[in-house]
């Protein structure tokens, strides 16, 4: 115990001048401090990196989920907390108030990170008879709409009940299921498709294996018994997902979750679990990710509806989804269950019914249907091959088509927006409605009249025809996808070519330049997603796989339904910008809210009286404050203790220079006695690089040199700051290097400007960074600003990330290898010297250009040996 106590005292000894300690003890204390300082720099660097990453994410141009928001906010908080801890260990006392500030700021961030605990009330299971639109929060949008159709519009809708959001939450919370799901998502690298596949499978397995709470099982059984009473004994049900939160961000894409048809009592629970699990299906997960929908907002409700044994079924659109100007009603229809229309797996009949005419005009395209889906007598569904004769038969009569169109029109009127309605024709010939939702339509701008087929490219035209499922043109390399394994290697910007328009290819669309399929209608899910993501899609292109599979680049013109060999520039306009899908999404809004307390920097000027802990309003402020103070504390230590070995030395380069060096650890080849240190005794990798940049070329530009060369100028420049060597002054007022083998911080005042370079360069590329701040000048504001922009421009060319606030330039670079970093440090060293007083000529653009040309020449020479 006494030991630890003594240890603590030694670490904190820096504060007082008190008892004289022997050199050995000081050396140890200094080393411990340096290690602490290094850890602080590490944390500082990590905090800034995460903030930069958050800023990038805030642009909303790439997808991320709540786990990203939580992980980044947690990581940045952990780093900032470490910084606070380290500075307090470096210098106990004056910085304690930072703990309080940290907690205050964290308190403001917390609400954005905590999962919105649902405060839902309501039963676990509810009969469809009791449901209307107002219950969407309990039963999901799809079932709420169906209840509305049944109970308010008195349409023919099957009997049934709904397993509610309340039940979902109860299930997911039982046994910590949700928490385990969150953990698995967090621990996966979502940017990799193969990892996402594995994650999706594991999550679904986990849910399917979990037992239901007993009370939920009871409630489901009770409602099934009631349904038996109302319909018939051992009634078959169709179990359909009806998720909450699908409507967020204007997302209307349903059908990414499972529906299971023809289920009996024995398998109700299993089917329920499977549908809940489909929340984590790959399609659904990547959809949410791409649209910024928060996982926790999606509660899975499941509707259980008496099964309709359909002789025909399909989807009706109250408007043409790809031609908004066209007010005809479009019916897609097949024999048997409507399933194959929805999943795009087979050819469909299309009935186009004119609106407002009695009798309406009906335009028919009867497909040759090769199979149909039917219910097995006991459980499940089967696919039956059709004979040619059966397959040629229209799936609907004109009367039936007219009736369906009429009701679609009514639904549109009732909801005030175009509808997408699923229906079935039961064995008695009655039309039953299964679902209605708003229709995804192309905007008028997207649906301009098809362009003329390019006459010059006529020879390159390969295939014409098909259906425009989503308009636009795209160029890319053909990639044929037949099975899931193919999908794993789908390249960014490829053209997806596949036989069936299956929903399971939807996750690929965020990377695809265009989609071409042999089968499928615009009613299918894939078409919906393509429209939503603005990816050109041509469906029903006969022989597409066979004809395209050996080609490389093709141009798909989905508007005029032509596919060309190679890239046709006249057609492939600049690719239509994909929609900023994250814009306005809940996930992005959450990140925005949290980052307001993290990213903004208010503490700019260390000399201002406001540069104090109580003015730290954000994590960035704390980071900035602690960094400044830690450098200060490191410097003070050597001075305060009259510790010659660890106090600063003047640099000797033939003659004494106006540069001082503080060795933090292993920056010298050998220890130095006395006042001076020779440049060749310095082994700090970054300092040597900076020095090379400083000393490589003599100053030649204006103002004219007086003949004494570089040395004299450096003397002059430093003398300008009215500092006399040897006079004790604050570290900030001289040209100071603080070094170790891999670390260097340089503070300099040359001429009238003030700059700092801080850098860590080692073999650990991921920890490498350079931070550069450049400020001030003697000229007027305009010239100063111009100079800052001039320097910023150069730095950007060398790969720095820059930001300018007033006349202060901040530049950063991270994660590059040692060789790259030392090259950049040479450039910075050069700029530190050679932009001196450049603002005097900043308003004469001709001399600026000349100057720039000369600099470029110098940079080339500086970096040349690296390229060999």
């Amino acid at each position: 115990m006494g030991l630890i106590h003594k240890l603590r005292k030694a670490i904190s000894a820096g504060r007082k001048k008190a008892a004289p300690v022997d050199a050995e003890e000081l050396r140890i204390a200094f080393r411990a401090r340096y290690h602490q300082f290094k850890l602080l720099l590490n944390a500082n660097n990590r905090a800034l990196e995460i903030m930069a990453e958050m800023e990038e994410a805030l642009k909303g141009t790439w997808p991320f989920g709540m786990h990203f928001v939580r992980a980044r906010c947690t990581a940045v908080a952990a780093s900032v907390f470490q910084i606070v801890k380290h500075i307090n260990e470096l210098a106990p006392g004056p910085y304690e108030a930072l703990y309080e500030r940290f907690k205050e700021i964290q308190k403001k961030i917390n609400p954005y990170l905590s999962s919105a605990r649902h405060t839902l009330e309501g039963p676990l299971v509810i009969s469809l008879d009791k449901v209307d639109r107002n219950l969407a929060d309990l039963v999901g949008g799809k079932m709420a709409n169906l209840g509305e159709m049944k109970n308010r519009l008195f349409l023919n809708v099957p009997e049934g009940f709904i397993i509610t959001a309340q039940a979902y939450f109860r299930f997911m919370e039982a046994g910590g299921l949700q928490s385990e799901v969150d953990r698995m998502i967090q621990a996966t690298d979502a940017s990799r498709l193969d990892e996402l596949f594995a994650l999706s499978a594991a999550l679904q397995q986990l849910i399917i294996r979990s037992p239901l709470p007993e009370e939920l099982e009871q409630a489901i059984e009770e409602h099934y018994s009631i349904l038996e009473k109302n319909v018939k004994a051992n009634v078959a049900v169709a179990m359909r997902s009806s998720a909450l939160g699908e409507d967020a961000a204007g997302a209307s894409f349903a059908g990414q979750y499972r529906s299971i048809l023809n289920v009996r009592r024995e398998t109700l629970f299993q089917a329920y679990r499977e549908i809940v699990a489909s929340k984590y299906g790959l399609t659904a997960m990547s959809y949410r990710l791409n649209r910024g929908i928060r996982d926790e907002d999606v509660a899975m409700c499941v509707g259980c509806l008496a099964m309709v044994d359909a002789q025909a079924g399909g989807v009706v659109y109250s408007r043409n989804p790809v031609r908004p100007g066209d007010d005809a009603i479009v019916i897609n229809s097949v024999l048997g269950l409507p399933k194959s229309v929805v999943d795009g797996s087979s050819a469909v009949d299309v009935f186009t019914v004119s609106r407002g005419k009695d009798p309406p005009e009906i335009e028919k395209e009867i497909a040759i249907k090769v199979n149909k889906f039917l219910c097995y007598p006991d459980e499940g569904i089967c696919r039956i091959e059709l004979t040619e004769e059966e397959g040629e038969k229209p799936s609907l009569t004109d009367e039936q088509a007219t009736e369906i169109a009429l009701i679609a029109g009514r639904l549109e009127e009732y909801y005030g927006t175009a509808q997408d309605v699923e229906w079935a024709l039961d064995n008695e010939g009655a039309i039953v409605f299964l679902q209605s939702r708003p229709l995804q339509q192309r905007s008028d701008e997207e649906a301009k009249a098809p362009p003329e087929i390019d006459r010059d490219a006529k020879d390159s035209a390969l295939i014409t025809g098909g259906i425009t499922a989503s308009g636009g043109t795209g160029v890319g390399t053909v990639f044929v996808v037949r099975k899931d394994m193919d999908a794993l290697s789908f390249p960014e910007g490829g053209v997806l070519v596949t036989e069936q328009s299956l929903p399971r290819w939807a996750p690929l669309l965020s990377r695809a330049a265009a989609v071409v399929t042999e089968q499928g209608s615009l009613a299918g899910h894939l078409g919906n997603v393509a429209r939503e993501f603005g990816v050109p899609a041509l469906f029903g292109v006969k022989g597409a796989v066979e004809n395209l599979k050996d080609l490389k680049e093709i141009t798909v013109d989905a508007d005029s339904r032509v596919i060309y060999r190679g890239r046709i520039d006249s057609i492939a306009k600049a690719p239509a910008k994909k929609k900023g899908l994250m814009e306005g999404s809940p996930v992005l809004e959450t990140l925005k809210g949290a980052s307001r307390h993290i990213i903004p920097l208010n503490l700019l000027d260390p000399d201002s009286p406001n540069f104090v802990p109580s003015r730290c309003m954000t994590f960035h402020d704390i980071t900035r404050f602690c960094h400044e103070k830690s450098v200060h504390e490191m410097f003070e230590f050597g001075k305060r203790h009259h510790f010659p070995e660890r106090s600063s030395k003047q640099l000797l380069c033939d003659v004494p220079m106006q540069w001082w060096i503080l060795n933090l650890d292993d920056g010298y080849r050998e220890e130095v006695e006395g006042r001076y240190v020779r440049i060749d005794n310095i082994v700090s990798i970054p300092m040597r690089a900076i020095w090379e940049g400083i000393s490589a070329f003599p100053w030649e530009g204006p103002p004219p040199v007086d003949g004494k060369g570089l040395m004299s100028i450096m003397f002059e420049a430093t003398a300008n700051t009215s500092l006399v060597p040897g006079v004790r002054s604050s570290y900030g007022n001289r040209n100071y290097f603080m070094i170790s083998k891999n670390y260097c911080s340089l503070t300099s005042r040359l001429g009238f400007h003030f700059s700092t370079i801080e850098t860590l360069v080692s073999e650990r590329s991921s920890e490498n960074y350079i931070s550069f701040v450049f400020k001030g000048g003697a000229a007027d504001y305009e010239r100063r600003l111009k100079r800052v922009l001039f320097v910023g421009d150069i730095l950007e060319e060398f790969g720095f990330r820059i930001s300018v606030k007033e006349d202060t330039l901040m530049a950063r670079m991270e994660d590059r290898d040692l060789e790259y970093m030392t090259g950049r440090l040479k450039v910075l060293g050069y700029l530190t010297i050679h932009t001196r007083q450049l603002d005097m000529i900043m308003l004469r653009s001709k001399s600026v250009d000349q100057y720039r040309a000369k600099m470029n020449d110098h940079f080339k020479k500086l970096l040349a040996p690296l390229k060999q």
Partner: protein, 137 residues
């Protein structure tokens, strides 16, 4: 101070096995155990330099284990590695003396850097104590 002893504590067996194997390949004397209780009894007989601790485990959880390790072996450094992003746990852990709070998935090189830094910290501490006790005599 090249090779050091590290103990990895995680109830996810597959993850743990892979991690330990990869650490060994990088010349770290790594051992894996599946629970906090096992970890505590392991350290009792086989002192280690750094413990990498999962936060959420059945039985004794990571925070409790951290508290216990720090109480019994104050110089042993503890890194928390978890699949749960939770600020409160992160801060609590660091207040209790954890070296860092890391989240899966974690790049293996980054993790090794952290281990090295944590070990360096311990080494510097111990060095100081060694010299000071020598001074006492």
């Amino acid at each position: 101070m090249d090779s050091f002893k590290a103990l990895f504590v995680d109830d996810e067996v597959e993850f743990l096995d892979t991690l330990v194997k990869r650490m060994k390949r990088r010349n770290i004397q790594a051992t894996g155990v599946g629970s906090a209780e096992e970890a505590l009894s392991f350290i009792e007989t086989n002192p280690v330099d750094v413990v990498v601790l999962d936060v959420k485990m059945p039985g004794m959880d990571g925070i409790e284990a951290l508290r216990e390790i720090k109480r019994r072996h104050p110089l042993t450094e503890v890194i928390m590695l978890t699949g749960h992003a939770n600020v409160e746990v992160a801060i609590q852990g660091m207040e209790l003396g954890a070296f860092d709070y890391l989240m899966k998935p974690m790049d293996i090189d980054e993790l090794i850097y952290k281990l090295q830094d944590a070990y360096k910290k311990k080494y510097v501490h111990e060095d100081k104590i060694r010299r000071m006790t020598r001074g006492d005599k």
